[in-house]
Symmetry: C2
Subunit: 502 residues, 2 copies
């Protein structure tokens, strides 16, 4: 039986949005009937979760939940690196199974090789990055050549002398206290927050922060709002931790809260990048910030504020963080140093409400003790001496000049029709394309010409994807930008006709 | 109603070891009846899980599972930092509730403040360390003054020049490839293993390794064998991840496998420290290693081999690792650099069976991207130049001389009756005490005298605890050891009478 035939069995399933039954249950019920009646024969390998998810317009996680349920019921079995099979043993239960179905060799259950169910979900939530080379205009990279390596090594030398005393005195699960003080002060000044160092928990970066937040704040099956499009790393980790993902549309004011409430009225957790939506670039309006806080209060939800990239604002002023606006009552605030300093430098932080500081610190120590103390000590010195603020200021000016150069070059290449978005802040600009365009194909062609244009569509979880191209500028000097533009100009005739109409 | 009265209601519950029903279900069923019949009144605060666990002789995790079930059923509510309450709303369900019970103020459910159920379990699994000062004879510390900081900084300077190219080339989720090669080679030579670098996943240390292994290899409720006594950090993280903990006795040959099989016949995962049992010091015999491998194969279990501390062996030869013996088929092998180099240096590794390499690497990237690249690069250089092996050799000789000095001093202080264990390997020796002794009281008195003796009993999860004192020697030079011994000698009259009889 070819894949399409089985997929066909599923297409006639209409998911009911208003059903009491969650989607994975509807899918599991439909599959169960199909298996038990023999419409899907025993022993057969099912199409991948990806195919199911695309066909039904749901996330892969929903399909995984449905599969897991049927695995629990003994109707399906799953092999890592292979796929999901209808168990041979269900033959007896099948009324109308075609005789030839029984001759198919079904894999035996293989308990030793099996990962745990949550392990499989963890593995399956990993998303393959669109293949790229670290050359213009690959986004999300700071300029590594600008990292103040000499200063850093000098501080490291100084700090290592103090290591013995400090290392033994440091018993805080939450991280190195002077660094937590430096971060609290920095946030109070730059982000309008009123947190103390007690509320700051040091992590090894945003991904660990998100994992910790997931485990602490929601249980498997709980509804989690995510921006659509949005940060793929967040989607992965929420999905890996069993969230029921609710993709929420984003417009030029940020998260569309009213629309979201109508569809998914009772979130347990709301993930947002209000300073600068990733990847579209919108800043969440003050009105919507208030609405979000009010909503969280009303339905007892947590807001997780990813303050990623706020440092690089070229136009206007970054609004006070949601954590600052709500007094840190319902908001967990995430920050990272990867984009300011080095991606390979693994330090980030979570700022939690005061009464959650102790539970978070304890949990952090259970899952991973603490981050590298030496790196924490050096960063602490770096911040206390004002070097971080100076570095950010220098990078902001540098990146702004690079953005200006890139935008000028793009206007030279393309028609007057070119409009750009995401230009107020951040490390990339976005060229929106017509819906008829195929951004992934364009990106692949661009790669053949030695220039990186990252497609927008993979940032969408749902079926309604907008097409566009992300161009990073922060990591490239003027020569590299010119070279990238020269390569891009050869693609002019391909891209020009599909630029989005203003 | 005083605590003891409620506890009394539970003591009349006899847990049935052979019941089809898991223990948490038996406890939940018993509690449900007690609540619904009004024997436990509405609104009351329950005693802590610790008290329940001790009374019933089960792990706290079992109690937490029972509580969670009743929270799900709406009979209990839980507040972080406070405790667990019988819901006021069950009053209507209570037949014989005493009238005064209704006048108790019950906490309202407070959804906003609530952590997730797994978050609570994570927090509750954290164990408070016995309070200690970093002075002789605090165990588990390498001598920080011996860390080759000058060499390290030189390598760091050299390496930072290569950072740009390397950092961009490194796309492996599993860690920095040259470091993984160096680790695989080191293990193949020193531990009799046959792994390739593909099987090596770099983590931020043992705790993250254990967390990853837990999530990948067992689901909540699955039975996990743990050494009793054993490493508290492992117990915490397995418990936090929902394991049904099975404490397994340890004798002078290591894990008592036959006894374990009789009590807990079907483990999903077996955690062991075969090179050197922590904290008793036994080396798992070759016969038991074979038995363990055979058992894992038969019941489809995973073996998690913590190879902690094997570097410091003073007598005899460290046997081939279980991963080496079984060809890495059923064994996940854990190592760390914290004890060899610096505790604050956050790098460890997991060596997995070949077919699990890709799933583990993917999962590792989902939960925490990768470890600090700079530290990985420097460690890689350190290993490839043979400096790690040289450092280990130097530390082994140094620590051996310190152990000899400590043992000599102890023999001078105490009667001929003194026997010591755990002396073949590691960073501490153990003074076994008579069962009538109270090691925690002795440890507190010692602290008053400025000397650290770590009690053995907290390493036990169950009620049957052996008494003893751990004395670390690795972090202290001869002067510091003499000073510690001088302080210890003042406790002679207290400790001498309770030394275990040989």
């Amino acid at each position: 039986m070819p894949k399409t035939a089985i997929t066909g069995l599923l297409i006639d399933l209409e998911l009911e949005a208003n059903s009491e039954l969650p989607k994975y249950r509807q899918i599991a019920d439909h599959l169960r009937v199909s298996i038990e009646t023999g419409r899907i024969p025993a022993g057969i390998k099912l199409p991948s979760t990806r195919i199911f998810a695309e066909e039904l317009g749901v996330s892969r996680n929903v399909i995984l939940q449905a599969f897991d349920r049927l695995i629990d019921e003994g109707l399906l079995s799953s092999r890592i690196g292979d796929g999901t099979y209808v168990m041979a043993s269900v033959i007896g239960k099948q009324g109308g199974a075609a005789p030839e179905a029984r001759t198919l060799t079904a894999p035996e259950p293989y308990p030793f090789r099996s990962l745990s169910r949550r392990g499989k979900s963890l593995v399956n939530s990993a998303t393959d990055a669109f293949p790229e080379r670290p050359t213009a205009f690959m986004p999300d990279l700071p300029d590594l050549r600008e990292f103040p390596i000499k200063t850093w090594l000098r501080l490291l030398n100084e700090t290592s002398g103090r290591l013995r005393g400090e290392i033994l005195a440091d018993t805080s699960n939450a991280g190195y206290e002077p660094l937590r003080r430096a971060i609290a002060r920095h946030l109070n000044i730059s982000r309008g927050m009123t947190c103390t160092s007690d509320q700051v928990i040091i992590t090894t970066g945003s991904q660990q922060s998100l994992d910790l937040v997931s485990r602490m704040l929601f249980d498997p099956g709980d509804p989690v709002w995510l921006e659509e499009p949005g940060y793929v790393g967040a989607r992965s980790i929420f999905s890996a931790n069993g969230a029921s993902l609710c993709p929420i549309a984003v417009d030029e004011q940020g998260l569309c809260i009213d629309e979201a409430l109508a569809k998914h009225p009772s979130p347990r957790l709301i993930f947002a990048s209000p300073s600068r939506h990733y990847p579209l670039g919108a800043t969440l309006s003050l009105q919507r910030r208030s609405a979000l806080i009010e909503l969280a209060s009303r339905c007892g939800a947590w807001i997780v504020e990813d303050d990623y990239d706020h440092e690089f604002r070229y136009v206007g002023h970054t609004p006070t963080s949601i954590h600052g606006l709500d007094g840190g009552q319902r908001t967990v605030h995430l920050g990272t140093f990867s984009k300011i300093l080095l991606p390979s430098f693994r330090l980030g932080y979570v700022v939690v409400p005061p009464d959650l500081a102790e539970p978070f610190a304890k949990a952090r120590a259970v899952v991973d003790r603490h981050a590298s103390l030496i790196e924490q000590m050096v960063l602490s010195e770096f911040m206390h001496r004002g070097l971080l603020v100076a570095h950010i200021r220098r990078m902001r000016n540098l990146y702004r000049s690079r953005q200006v150069r890139l935008i000028g070059g793009l206007r030279d290449i393309f028609d007057n029709g070119l409009r750009l978005s995401a230009t107020d802040t951040g490390m990339h600009v976005l060229i929106p394309l017509d819906q008829a365009a195929d951004d992934q194909t364009i990106a692949r062609k661009a790669m053949d010409h030695g220039v990186v244009l990252r497609p927008l569509s993979p940032y969408y979880a749902g079926r309604q994807k907008r097409q566009g191209l992300l161009l990073g500028f922060s990591a490239y000097n003027f020569d590299e930008i010119e070279q990238g533009l020269a390569r891009l100009s050869k693609l002019r005739t391909m891209i020009n006709p599909v630029l989005a109409v203003p």
